[in-house]
């Protein structure tokens, strides 16, 4: 299974308050959440992400609150995959549980530039940078996590 999109770059310690600010947490509608994705850092992110993007960022991505609205907002805004140096643990589990692919690789935020076209082969953690003609390998996901993501999330996985 593979996903593709344009790279959008963020820094270290991107927290869930900037991914979706608290004031929008009263909605249970994923499309409503998506409108405010990354609003704390980039108010027009939702528009940029519409055609499919890959977030590339530094260390501790998704730190802060346990709000699952954060990965939901990103997924429904058009984020196909997240590639970072490291994840905060609750965000990591939440993203898996809602079926948003994500990978870790040391130094990744320096290897990829804004706008690079990327394709990720989920099974291998293989990142093909079509703009630069480079191939990188991120840490592979354990099989049971890969299965959850491929099924579209924990609930869909459990139903199977």
């Amino acid at each position: 299974m593979e996903v593709s999109g344009k790279a959008v770059i963020f820094g270290d310690n991107v927290n869930t308050d900037v991914i979706i600010p608290s004031k929008y947490l009263t909605s249970l509608d994923p499309l409503e959440m998506a409108k405010h994705a990354m609003e704390g850092l980039d108010p027009i992110f939702a528009k940029k992400a519409q055609n499919g993007v890959i977030i590339v960022a530094g260390r501790n991505f998704g730190c802060g609150s346990s709000r699952e609205q954060a990965p939901i907002a990103l997924k429904y805004a058009g984020v196909k995959c997240i590639l970072v140096e490291s994840f905060a643990r609750i965000f990591y589990r939440n993203a898996i549980n809602i079926g948003l692919p994500l990978f870790e690789r040391t130094g990744i935020s320096k290897d990829i530039e804004e706008g690079d076209i990327l394709t990720i082969i989920l099974e291998e953690g293989k990142v093909v940078n079509r703009t630069k003609g480079q191939t990188l390998y991120a840490s592979k996901l354990p099989d049971f996590i890969l299965e959850i993501i491929k099924d579209g999330g924990l609930i869909e996985h459990l139903k199977k």
């Binding site: 009263t26 249970l28 501790n60 346990s66 643990r89």
Partner: protein, 447 residues
Amino acid sequence: MRKLEGSSERLLESRSNRTVTIEAQRTMNITEKILAASSERDVVKPGEIVEAKVDMAMINEITGPLAIQTFKKIGTEKVWDNQRIVLVLDHQVPADSVKSAELHKIMRAFAKEQNIPLLYDVGDGGVCHQVMIEKGHVRPGELIVGADSHTCTYGALGAFATGIGSTEMAAVFAAGELWLRVPSAIRIIATGSFHKFVTPKDLILRIIGQIGADGAIYKAVEFAGPGIDNMSVSGRLTMCNMAVEMGAKTGIVNPDDLALEYVKNRTNKSFKTFRSDLNAAYEKTFEFNVDNLEPQVACPPSVDNVKPIKDVEGVVINQAFLGSCTNGRLEDLKLAAEFLEGRRIKRGVRLLVTPASQEVYLQALENGLLEIFVKAGAYVCNPTCGACFGGHMGLLAPGEVCISSSNRNFVGRMGSPEAEIYLASPAAVAVSALAGKIVDPRSFSEA
């Protein structure tokens, strides 16, 4: 032949006994012991994945409705155990909008439908973590999950507690268990004794400043040493509460007589206490001597941007917030009142005081603290996450500066992304509100 079979059985038996003995000799820290017990294993090691049985599961109205919605998608009719689920309304109470009111309604309806008695509605409880602790829903040795990142607070009472998301909570509601990777542990030993007006908040800020916002990702952080032994339960709660701010899976303290007494006064349920073996393994051990500790402050825009407060003295503030699951307990309010009694805050500054729970509110009332606050010009709010959550009250305008006793100073956390938040102790919040600018509590007391 029969004899041989018998002896080989005995041999196997004795081998397996020996295995058990050898395994049992393997030392474990408190986190490993709790995860081993909850997954019905003798021994666990860092990195192993275990299926752990959940003792208590908590949701609030921000993460809960999503969990409830997802639980319904699973198709299981009844929750796994209606006595082990706690629902708390705290983030936006009383409802500030129709949308919030709808979330509250979903929580109430779920409690009714599933016959869950432990619903803390508006007026019953307060901030979820304080409610969990003071209502006796946290007991040593238990495995507790909460759909809130500050669930790690409960480690102060010797439980393994961690934050999870809504989907995972839905699965817990259905099955009563979840997978967990056994974390490696960092031990933090606090030695020495605190100077006057230097608090556990200053210590945890100092620790986060050194270890970093991602320095303990996926790890358990165990607090130990005489500095912790001599600390109140309230102080230990503050320390464990902020473990997640360095990425930790949980913060934990080995339960001692003080912790056990606290718990026994609040529950009649039995529990099993675990303590780290003396020679248990840790990935790293850090030592902090609190003899030399000064009041600290986490400067914007991150929790690990920590400095001695004297380095930022004079920063003009617009708002001061005293409250939250970090520092909204009676001990915190008392400390602030020491400075505020008989004084008035600086004109033009807003001081919001938000007791962490109805119980704290009542104690503050009975102790005369609320009168001190009101006379000092503070605005006393109802128990809620309130200004810390930045959802429905006490929000900051662009360019404003707030000093807060809470746990996060992220960009936009308390309102405008162009506002700035400094995190400090209740003492620092109080003196800064009086001065209208950031002040070291020690210099204030000398003045």
